[in-house]
């Protein structure tokens, strides 16, 4: 009986170890950004290896940002590369020049150079840890309520430089703050005026107008772009999803696609839209 129990536990343990795993491909020089939220009890060490016990609600926000490149080792048999990464050797790797200003860039460094080649800085990250909260009060005024948005963010490198120059804090604003910021400086795109996400200007454009432009070449371009955005938003491009969307009364879906198109139209070269969930 005991032996059978041991076997059962061993089988259960091995199945647990072998199942449900997500193994990310071994990366080099990856930037990781994310959050962890635990509701319950947590006992362990924090990011600075200090022991701690948390009961109730604990939230971690973290970023791992590479500043110096890692390279694959060449110490395998016959000079083959091993699946092992090591810091780039500053002594051996030559220096290169980049940008209009002729910046001295060491290949070991991960840097960004702006379009005109006049600004150089480290890898840029702009992230928001936004949240919202609200409450009601019954004392005095039973209808009293309040809600607010919190937008915590950080920016590094060229993003931080440009944000400081252009006052781009609105990008990380939350809730009504963002809507006010967008309304204050509305986006303009080929005659399209949108005061904020999802709120199409009554005198402006709809998805139907955007896709139904008279010029056939421009119409084809917009439809192709719409298909890409639709795919990025998680819908298959081989289905007539856009046509169905136009025929339906799904205003929310149409606004989502139109907003995605505006993002795509404004994007610099190389923009990738990844649908999270």
């Amino acid at each position: 009986m005991r032996c059978g129990l041991h076997k059962a536990l061993a089988a259960l343990g091995s199945m647990a170890v072998l199942s449900g795993c997500v193994q990310m491909t071994r990366h080099s020089n990856m930037m990781i950004f994310g959050t962890n939220t635990v509701v319950g009890v947590r006992a362990g060490v924090n990011a600075t290896s200090v022991p701690e016990v948390a009961i109730g609600y604990a939230r971690q926000e973290a970023v791992i940002l590479p500043l110096v490149a890692n390279t694959a080792s060449n110490d395998g048999a016959n000079g083959s590369k091993l699946n092992r990464l090591s810091p780039c050797d500053f002594q051996k790797t030559p220096v290169s020049y980049a940008g209009q200003q002729g910046f001295i860039v060491h290949p070991c460094s991960l840097v960004g150079i702006n379009r005109d080649g006049k600004m150089l800085d480290s890898y840029s990250v702009l992230a928001s840890f936004g949240g919202s909260f609200g409450g009601t009060a019954t004392a005095g005024n039973p209808n009293a309520s309040a809600s607010a948005g919190v937008a915590q963010y950080f920016a590094t490198g060229l993003a931080a430089q440009t944000l400081a120059l252009n006052g781009g804090a609105a990008v990380v604003a939350a809730g009504s703050t963002a809507e006010r910021a967008a309304a204050k400086s509305p986006m303009t795109l080929e005659g399209v005026t949108v005061s904020s996400y999802g709120a199409v200007d009554p005198a402006g454009i709809t998805l139907q107008n955007y896709l139904g432009v008279a010029d056939k070449t421009e119409q084809l371009r917009r439809w192709t772009l719409a298909q890409k955005v639709e795919t990025a938003l998680g819908k298959s491009s081989d289905k007539p999803a856009i046509a169905d969307l136009l025929m339906s009364d799904d205003g929310k879906g149409q606004q989502a696609l139109l907003s995605g198109l505006l993002v795509a139209e404004d994007q610099p070269a190389g923009l990738t839209i990844l649908k999270g969930k």
């Binding site: 199945m15 997500v22 509701v39 319950g40 252009n166 986006m187 929310k252 610099p268 990738t272």
Partner: protein
């Protein structure tokens, strides 16, 4: 049953290694990676290990980006941020930008 009730994730970043173990109800969402951008969303109810043991509910979402492909990474969590991101992207002048969109439609 054990297959359904367990999960773990491992991320290697050079010499940095992060392993997480989940026991209980686990849901892992990984959208299809685009170029150098990937994302992982894990929701779990039970217990697990991540630099310490935890018991209860846990929700983590992580964005993994390759600096070579994404010199600028923007994480947006609300539709309003998405609209504003478009405006700021225009002024960023970044050659390679990636957007992780967590807004719900």
């Amino acid at each position: 049953m054990a297959v359904l009730l367990s999960g773990c994730s491992t991320v290697d970043v050079g010499s940095q290694r992060s392993s997480q173990l989940y026991l209980g109800l686990v849901r892992v969402i990984m959208p299809e990676p685009h170029k150098g951008l990937a994302a992982v969303d894990v929701k779990a109810l039970g217990l697990g290990w991540d630099q310490g043991v935890w018991v209860g509910g846990r929700h983590g979402n992580w964005v993994i980006a390759d600096p070579a492909e994404c010199q600028l990474l923007i994480v947006i969590r609300t539709p309003a941020q998405a609209a504003n991101a478009a405006r700021v992207l225009r002024s960023m002048e970044g050659k390679q930008a990636c957007v992780a969109d967590y807004t719900k439609h």
